[in-house]
Amino acid sequence: SSLFVYPTKIIIKTCGTTKLLKSIQPLILLAQNLNLTLSACRYTRGSFIFPKSQPFPHTSFEEEVVVLEEAIPLSLRHRKASVLPSHEPSRAWHVFTASVDFDSNSCVVVEVCMTELDRFLSRSFFGRNGKVMTRESGIDLINANAIVCDFAFDPCGYSMNSIDGDRYSTIHVTPEEGFSYASFECVASVYEDIGEVLKRAIDVFQPGTVSIATTYGGEEYNDEVMTKRVESVLGKKLGLKCRSSCVEVFPGSGTVVYQSFTSCRK
């Protein structure tokens, strides 16, 4: 799990059975003490592998939305909750957004979820220290300019944050057979080739299934061109076939493109 604190932005990403939405009101209060007022809220997640193990309100997206709606002030008037479908019902993408006004942000946030990780490559994430896992898995080569802060869990599992100027990326790995999972998230620019970065990150795990949610604001990002480019790179270089793709606009909060892939060997 990861926490990123910028001067006017906080991102928390947690896995397991954590109660993430409980952080909203304390964070709003802490910000108020610094004369900062909430202007936008975004909550996203994939479909849980073990949904019945989640605590309230993460028991359903509907209940999460009720809690989100109650936790944020009415001034965040542009609100929308939506479930973006995939070719498999169990791989949907859940998005809630709320904002005071349209926030034209040229940054692109890419969230990647991977399952059915390659068994051999997953072994790198057992019984070693974080630095060794970073190096031997090839994670250090995804962005050679970034500074990596890594952590190995006992007896297995791995998390890392990397920082490169004002941009972060983060990877979390659950390597156990049967419910193996890895995520990659990064902030990209509309002007760079996201496909190549994704190729390097996904190649570390060679997963059987991949989903990619790309969120962007502003008008510089051409989602049709970028979607095709990502499909092309992942298809040609990693043997991943795009099974479904959808685009949805979230008023005041930008646009989300959600693509699902499976390995051609499946």
Partner: protein, 65 residues
Amino acid sequence: VDVSGFEGFEKRLELRFFRNQDPLENSMGLRLIDFESLEKVLQTVQCTVVSAIANKSFDAYVLSE
């Protein structure tokens, strides 16, 4: 409760704020929140900080779970 392993799929929350005062004042913004207060928030979420790094732009924490 179903038979389960560790839930890898994350929940992600992003909160953005605006300044109520002169932007030149308090340019560190949320980065001024003390570590103890952050830890208290994380306790309610049921995780803790296990590692941290920072640069001039932002702070990054690796959390348990």
